[in-house]
């Protein structure tokens, strides 16, 4: 076995046996599940109100029929309650999600009271409100001698259903659902990329510092070359990271496959296997790029605090996609989006966002990926030079520029 692989094996085990690694690995799928399932929970046509019962106090049979029709899409039912006390008791016992109080002449009231169990099920309350408003309008029209059918006709207007060509009919509903589906998938993917790339980068930087300050590195270099040491140090945790991603995607797929039908969850179409593949395909070069640079900076740093100071440009590049997320989402083809999807330090995340939102032409994808791969190689070669010099330098807190200049030393 090559020496770099021996080191990688040890670093892999050291990373994977770490408590933090195990915790993050186990919690990861929860994050994915939560973020990808959330849209169906918060969306207005969602099934959050399924089985909910809305009590009506007062009003007549027609009122209840109209209300029941309005609540049917949300799978909520309507029931009669004798009086307010009974409604309150029903809410207290959990039987009713809400109770609508309709006093005599309610159509002329300026406000009506809706007693609610939680006060947070706004999708349900909005449906009740809409239905009540429609009934009041009809009643007013009838009282004024205007044909209710005419009023209905006058007030009707078409809604908007946003559809992306090629993706029609795959979403769980209208435009908002689609937007939320994309938003939450993008959020989940961006968070995962950000967290893992940053965590692994810092992990590698710290382990280099530790080895440098404990002088283990001289012991190591008496057996291997600095290039082998660097390769092993980057490769080991990288394999642990891939293992983590494989576990996450496997568990998320299994969880959605098994729990989805039971909980009536519908997956956002953005959570496709192709997009998951893109996530992994962008994670790998992003990992190697950032880890190489972190390893080089770790070699130049005196301690962890110093490393944090040196790594600020990396932090900024990692945060750009989070800060400009709205821009990338709403306008994935703007100049800034396109630039960031080619610039290697931001392209893994920004290009991934573009792929999720509005897939770019294949040649754009290919060009961006080629630039990324070339940068990974370049960063590794330069990092190896900086690493070689820095790993033996101690006793002085150097500036970033001085450390980067080591790359030029023969």
């Amino acid at each position: 076995m090559s020496k770099a692989l021996i080191i990688a094996k040890r670093e892999f085990l050291a990373t994977a046996a770490n408590k933090a690694f195990v915790v993050i690995t186990l919690l990861g799928p929860l994050l994915i599940l939560a973020l990808t399932v959330l849209p169906s929970v918060v969306s207005t046509s969602g099934v959050a109100s399924a089985g909910a019962v809305v009590a009506v106090v007062g009003g007549d049979g027609a009122t209840r029929i109209a209300l029941a029709a309005a609540l049917a899409p949300a799978k909520a039912a309507v029931e009669d309650a004798a009086d307010e006390a009974a409604a309150r008791a029903g809410i207290a016992s959990g039987r009713y999600a809400a109770a609508l109080l309709l006093p005599a002449g309610w159509t002329d009231a300026s406000t009506l009271r809706l007693l609610a169990k939680t006060g947070t099920d706004y999708a349900l309350y909005a449906r009740v409100e809409g239905s009540v408003a429609a009934m009041a309008r009809e009643a007013h029209a009838a009282a004024s001698g205007v044909d209710p059918a005419l009023v209905k006709r006058l007030l009707s207007a078409p809604g908007i259903d946003v559809a992306v060509p090629g993706k029609e009919g795959r979403g769980p509903g209208g435009g908002l659902d689609q937007y939320l589906g994309i938003l939450f998938t993008v959020l989940a993917f961006v968070m995962l990329m950000y967290m893992t790339v940053l965590l692994y980068g810092q992990l590698i930087g710290r382990s280099v510092i530790q080895e440098k300050s404990s002088k283990t590195v001289e012991f190591m270099l008496s057996s291997v070359s600095s290039r082998q040491l660097l390769a092993g140090k980057i490769l080991g945790p990288g394999l642990a990271g891939l293992l983590q991603y494989a576990f996450w995607i496997g568990v998320a797929a299994a969880g959605i496959g098994l729990l989805g039908p039971v909980l009536h969850l519908q997956l956002p179409p953005t959570l496709s296997s192709g997009n998951l593949l893109a996530l992994v395909a962008f994670f790998i070069p992003a990992y190697f790029l950032y880890s190489s640079i972190y390893a080089a900076l770790g070699a130049g740093a005196e301690d962890e605090q110093h490393l944090t100071q040196l790594a600020w440009p990396l932090m900024i590049c990692l945060m750009i996609p989070m800060v400009l997320l709205n821009l990338f989402l709403s306008n994935p083809n703007s100049a800034v989006s396109v630039f960031c999807s080619y610039f290697p330090l931001t392209s893994p995340i920004v290009m991934l966002i573009r792929v999720l939102v509005s897939p770019p032409a294949w040649w754009e994808l290919a060009a961006s990926y080629a630039i990324l791969l070339a940068s990974v190689w370049g960063a590794y070669v330069l990092a190896a030079k900086v690493f070689r010099i820095g790993i033996l330098m101690t006793g002085k807190r150097r500036k970033l520029g001085e450390i980067l200049r080591w790359a030029a030393i023969r």
């Binding site: 404990s214 190591m220 008496s222």
Partner: protein, 311 residues
């Protein structure tokens, strides 16, 4: 055999190593001696091919040093460089694997060394549970487990109790008898004096003196004599060939003038005091070093160097 030919390494303005040449031969312990900052670490790093010299050449067994040579080199660093969370056996197997030593052979070697050092029962324990002495022994095993032909010891006795020092010394002598080339780097002159046959005294990257220890001492002998006696030896101070005397009621050390023979002193003492012990004292390496540094530099520098030695 490890040879260096006019090796130089500069870091910017700092001449860490400035034209050193030496040869460490198999079956001999070669001492690389000098105060901190003299260029020992840089020399060792070059001898292990961790860094390459700016000019000059290092050869191992007559060939130019190459990456493959790391397999036959063993290194014992001064500081503890083991992974604190690793278990003793795993750590040693890892180090052996990096030297290309098969696991089965390494296991055997590890067991016999651990047993010899009396720490076999610590095999499954973590490094950070070990005392400093034990960790140093583990590191010592790590440097030797792949049966190297050249071993570099950097301050191997630092922080060790006398018993552990003896165990390590014994193992070193055994290696030497087995024809291993040993390079021993230290700033503690007394250690070097006890162990090394051949030395290279370095100061500021340059050679101060080198050669067989006995010859170096003979060359730089300062003609001192120590005497234990009964009687009154006050007259010794006035003898023409005596430069100075440090005298106690029953002991004195006389510094003879250059060119004079200790025999003259012996004859002068005989009959006037009762001589119980008469010893021509070879100068310590420490004395040689300070006198040489004093010759080559002016006072302030020498003091600085002395300060470094006593660190």
């Amino acid at each position: 055999m490890l040879e260096a030919f006019d090796v130089r390494k500069h870091y910017g303005e700092v001449r860490a190593v400035d034209g050193l040449s030496f040869a460490a031969v198999p079956g001999e312990i070669f001492g690389l001696i000098g105060p901190n900052g003299a260029g020992k670490s840089t020399t060792i790093r070059m001898a292990m091919n961790i860094i390459s010299p700016d000019s000059g050449e290092i050869r191992i067994n007559g060939r130019r040093l190459a990456e493959e040579d790391k397999a036959i080199v063993g290194y014992l660093p001064e500081e503890r460089g083991l992974y604190r969370k690793a278990k003793v056996e795993d750590m040693l197997l890892y180090l052996a694997a990096l030297k290309g030593c098969p696991a089965a052979r390494a296991r055997k070697g590890i067991d016999s060394w651990l047993e010899r050092f009396g720490i076999l029962e610590w095999k499954g324990r973590k490094i950070d549970e070990l005392s400093k002495g034990m960790a140093q022994k583990v590191q010592f095993i790590g440097a030797l487990v792949h049966s190297p032909r050249l071993v570099l010891f950097d301050e191997p006795f630092a922080g060790l109790d006398p018993v552990s020092q003896d165990t390590l010394l014994e193992a070193m002598l055994e290696l030497k008898a087995g024809g291993v080339t040993i390079l021993f780097s230290t700033h503690i002159m007394e250690h070097a004096e006890k162990v090394c046959e051949r030395i290279l005294l370095v100061h500021r990257g340059r050679e101060l003196v080198s050669g067989k220890l006995a010859e170096v001492k003979a060359r730089h002998g300062r003609n001192a004599v120590q005497i234990e006696y009964d009687g009154d030896a006050a007259f010794a101070q006035g003898l023409p060939f005596v430069e100075s005397v440090t005298r106690y009621p029953r002991w004195l050390e006389a510094q003879l003038k250059p060119g004079s023979d200790p025999d003259e002193l012996f004859r002068a003492l005989a009959g006037r005091v009762k001589v119980r012990r008469f010893e021509v004292v070879a100068p310590s390496l420490h004395k040689i070093f300070t006198s040489l540094v004093g010759e080559s530099r002016e006072g302030a520098d020498a003091e600085a160097a002395e300060g470094a030695i006593h660190e």
